[in-house]
Symmetry: C2
Subunit: 216 residues, 2 copies
Amino acid sequence: ALVITLATILLIGVSALTVFWVFFYREGYAWADDIPEKQFNLHPTLMVAGFITFSGFSVLLYRICRCFRRIYVKLLHAIFHALAFPCIVIGFLAVLDYHNKKGINNFYSLHSWIGLVAMGLFGLQYAVGFFSFLLLLICNKGTAGFRASLVPVHAAFGVLTFVLGVAACLTGLTEKAIFTLGAERYSGLPDEGVIINAIGVASIAILAVVMYILSR
Amino acid sequence: ALVITLATILLIGVSALTVFWVFFYREGYAWADDIPEKQFNLHPTLMVAGFITFSGFSVLLYRICRCFRRIYVKLLHAIFHALAFPCIVIGFLAVLDYHNKKGINNFYSLHSWIGLVAMGLFGLQYAVGFFSFLLLLICNKGTAGFRASLVPVHAAFGVLTFVLGVAACLTGLTEKAIFTLGAERYSGLPDEGVIINAIGVASIAILAVVMYILSR
Ligand code: HEM
Ligand code: HEM
Ligand code: HEM
Ligand code: HEM
Ligand SMILES: O=C1O[C@H]([C@@H](O)CO)C(O)=C1O
């Protein structure tokens, strides 16, 4: 129970910290505005919300709501991932459009490669999960064996998706710190550098706590 | 068996690729030489060898050598981590001394924070593992219960150490790509950029394979 409280605080905290960072140091959000940097700001915010906050809660649901009826937990799990979905799509379009507006190449960085794999896995997990665990309930008896055998595969790929999401955040934060502060100022560790590093540390703490809860 | 072969190829491959990168694009290794950059090159090489190649093999040993006598596997596990140890220490001193020679601040980056936690956990795991699983064998019977109860804790923290090691590599590669190629050239994805990204992709593939093997 204590560790669930800790997880909740961290999951909400990491998104709150990201929003704080953008408003306090990066001038807030916008789209189709004169300042493309404000549009970029949607990218880290929505990606952290989708891949960490919403996905994290969704994955922990099965361990938090043990006394609920199974179908409710399953629907909640699907709903939380359904909330993560648009965050991830819009977060991706925000940076894609930002790159195109500024004439920067797409998909060159290790970060973007990790991000593409994470998003691909997320989409697959969603499609397969929705089809197999909800739609196939139409024929409850005939598909029970198949669904049961799919659970460990879905769980393993789900954890991998989460790990890749965290890895994308860590490399993205590192890029952003160097791009906007510059190597010189980042190495002096200004306040903004501490905040960016703290978002990364919170993401790692979440990964550790989620892995711990799932391993029980 | 197939997945063990894959793991072996990747674990050796990621270190080979790092050495290739340093010789082909980064002018090889040196210490106390006129060119501190050559000394820096020891850092990624030894960290990848210590935290990924040696640690990866060591962690997989319990699953590869199921037919060996238990004490031999345990000694091999300790020996592989003992090989990783000096790699990590020298790899750390190489970058610390490089920073001091060039007058760059220490421990400002998210990468270095992740790295410090990973190294701290590695040291703890080694000390606790050595004491509990080898030294306490002196009193085999009296400590069996304690040792058995420690195994899941040691395994969980061991996986966490491995995950943090991979996270440190990914953020380190991202920094290095931007520092040496520059944001401009990196975004054109030159050959060296592809190689650096490939080292990262290999690290992630290793993480996925190791997590998969340990979950069986
Ligand atoms: C799971 C989370 C994330 C995913 C899946 C992701 C995905 C991506 C992708 C696919 C791109 C390439 C876009 C293009 O080339 O047009 C990109 C770019 C970028 N992202 Fe993320 N991102 C994530 C989180 C973050 C975070 C938290 C930050 C922190 C600020 C960030 C910073 C950046 C930056 C600076 C770029 C532009 C440079 C580049 O292409 O590497 N990202 N991201
Ligand atoms: C991107 C989307 C998704 C991700 C990343 C994901 C991830 C996960 C993870 C990590 C687990 C393991 C949780 C545990 O061990 O307690 C899990 C379990 C499960 N998920 Fe998903 N999931 C996704 C979408 C869906 C959808 C759309 C459904 C459909 C309702 C679904 C149905 C299930 C079911 C039935 C389980 C098994 C729970 C159990 O019996 O322990 N998932 N998911
Ligand atoms: C598990 C592996 C790794 C660990 C534990 C680690 C740890 C560290 C630490 C603690 C520092 C700070 C040194 C100081 O401030 O004096 C550092 C710096 C650095 N490392 Fe790593 N490292 C790892 C892997 C890598 C890799 C694979 C690269 C890729 C080239 C890399 C690139 C760098 C760079 C460029 C710096 C200097 C900038 C900075 O301080 O962030 N590291 N590393
Ligand atoms: C930094 C050093 C170390 C790390 C990162 C580490 C990591 C791990 C991991 C991940 C496992 C779980 C493997 C599995 O699930 O099959 C494990 C198991 C184990 N380790 Fe270590 N280890 C370290 C040092 C040591 C040392 C020095 C010893 C002393 C001999 C030791 C003894 C053991 C034992 C007895 C097991 C239990 C294997 C079992 O019964 O399944 N470890 N270690
Ligand atoms: O839809 C589901 O399929 C499996 C299992 O119940 C099948 O027997 C599972 O855990 C679900 O929630």
